[in-house]
Symmetry: C4
Subunit: 230 residues, 4 copies
């Protein structure tokens, strides 16, 4: 079987977003990408999470051709693939319909960086994609969703802002592994929740200054990171 | 015993709305309808959910005559029956007092379709019924509640919008089976929750465009559905 | 031991408000009153709920004299007693610091009856007491809290509105038994939660009409009640 | 091993903030201080809570020199130390990113005392620190965070207001022991939650009067306390 260990990681990321309360029914999906093989493993479409086994993951190449697996892949498979094609550092992608991140996506508002919880994981606002045109929706919708994400990240290192709000839809998060993508999806939901309470308390609030943003993001990420054990 | 398997399904729908956190005490009720027999099975009134057994379900005909069962049916029995009499595709009905759906019903606001979570299950806004007149309240209140629902759905296929907010009261959801009705009640609550956060973030927001609505609803419903396995 | 069965009921009401999520640490207290003996059993002050046993309940007469028990009664004992002295139909009282009911009490706003969940249990708004004067706070504070409740209910049958918001403090609920008082405390919290979401969605909303209020309250309460099993 | 019993208490405070829902992943940290030895025990940085053992706690002196322990201390160690150096009555400090307290900190708003739940534990508003200058952020950030807290408490007895909101960051709470610090962190989160609902219901609301504040705070704290069992 191809990608044996990646399948386990992808399954685990799918289960993690359920355990963390980000998923209702079969909403949401996680995938992982192996650059060595050029292959992705992704959750099958519409299968209850509690029945998922590593062998149920669907393996495709970067063009979306199924190379192993008898089930249909997640309906969002083309969005995942577009992300892997353009963000070479990304090896895990997670899509959810988590409540607060969806609400910001529906409101079509970026989430400004209001504090250090956000700054620890996103090195600027959480971006929102531009709405798709009717033509983009009516043909290759999932692919065009991916393209809108890539356009929004032009000039942005995707690991410095490991997630996005797809306008009128919801969040996609990613990372250097499926488990990091799942963690970023969880953090994005909490950042969105805190931000919605914050704007209720102070509607005119603007983002924190760059110095505080630098201090927090860079102590957890990059060559100068000091957080955690060695 | 009549409707043996439907009783089990109806019991299960009643328990599902409890497990999903939509029910407090004995609020809420689920029923199922069998077109073959022309009979409905419904939860008895005011019995704690944890004590319910299939044989406790009350079986009535479409006129509300009890044909099997020693307990009183749910006090909302006449609303359920009115729905079954007018919506032949509907074979399950669920009523709850879930927090966010009730809040929209109390606010007497339709829930506009703000995003794809909504569009996946409701093919337009979630409608609100007109308030009942004092006369409609004072005589045959539950039947008149059903009539208000039917009036609100004039010209609307009820399976494209599988639920309604009864003004100043709360949600009724339905579907092609009791379990689908329960699922729609759960989804309606989550849609209502997301929408209340969304309008807080963007009070002037309008509903999504038709193209996005079509794309999402039709990939999960109808002959062209592509979601899930085969 | 005095009031053996009432002690068990009072303990159970104390545990119920914990199980329902209305209580943090040792906040909140429940009591019960036996008209036959003219005695009240109440939770002791500041004892962790998980250690409470029936024999820990403190028994006092209507003047607050401890007739059985080695622990101090709840610090709110004088408020409970004032309620029992003036509301002869009341045989259980529950005080909590539940989140939403406290928030309305802090906001010093009555909770208007916005829908049938409210109308099923409160036959009008949930009232708020007048603030106490500094003198009333500085001497016999708990007794004066009770007096403010009694004043607010002048001309109101307390079983038609089984709870109150003490201004800047929080809810007291009551009923014909300790378990009914606990249930009313739970319902008041949910009514407060729904109402806070509702006013966010429709700030100008007014209370429902009397006909709907009558229909709901009277089908659950009083001689014409039709809800539940005979 | 140094500070054997304090290590257990500190571990327990770290676990308590997890059990109470204040902590996501490895966010948050608790410490304890022993005046007799002049030593602090603190959680190590970035270690999952479920793996923590008493021997993992890092012991430092008041200058931050590690005197026992092979792991790195929490990245917030210098903030904890600054608090112990200036608040001699404080023997436990807890930092969390709990949702509502963070939201007030992000909004840069003090939490006014809106009711008795607050008044029972904080003898005035919950203060917010001044924002740090860029220089204070770029050099010795954690120490400067502590200094901002100390400045904010000039002339304030820290045990009368056992917590603070660090501007754009989140809450630090403290107390006469690690367990009391953890309890104050939990209470601060609930106070923040109630206050955010309260201001939604009554945006113009001002703090309660001093007489009510005195009555509540002083019945739980200080020589005249009457709450609990002797």
């Amino acid at each position: 079987m191809l990608l044996e260990s990646l399948r386990v990681e992808v399954l685990e990321a799918n289960l993690e977003i359920v355990r963390r309360g980000l998923v209702m029914y079969t909403f949401g999906n996680a995938s992982g990408f192996s650059p060595a093989e050029g292959l992705m493993a992704i959750k099958p479409s519409g299968v209850p999470f509690e029945k998922l086994r590593p062998e149920d993951m669907v393996v495709t190449d970067l063009d979306g051709k199924i190379v192993e697996g008898s089930l249909r892949p997640s309906s969002d498979v083309d969005t995942h693939l577009e992300i892997y094609r353009h963000f070479p550092e990304v090896k895990g992608v997670v899509h959810t319909h988590s409540t607060y991140a969806v609400s910001w996506a529906q409101a079509k508002r970026e989430i400004p960086c209001f504090g250090t919880t956000h700054a620890d994981y996103f090195y600027a606002s959480v971006p929102v994609t531009e709405p798709l045109s009717d033509e983009e929706i009516q043909s290759k919708y999932e692919l065009n969703t991916g393209k809108a994400i890539i356009r929004r990240f032009e000039g942005i290192d995707p690991l410095t802002r490991p997630g996005v709000l797809v306008s009128s839809h919801g969040p996609f998060a990613w990372g250097a592994s499926p488990s990091k993508a799942a963690m970023n999806a969880v953090l994005l939901e909490e950042i969105a929740r805190m931000a919605s309470i914050t704007v209720g308390l102070n509607p005119a609030l603007t983002a924190i200054g760059q110095a505080l943003h630098d201090e927090h993001f860079l102590r957890k990420h990059g060559p100068g990171a000091t957080y955690g054990q060695n």
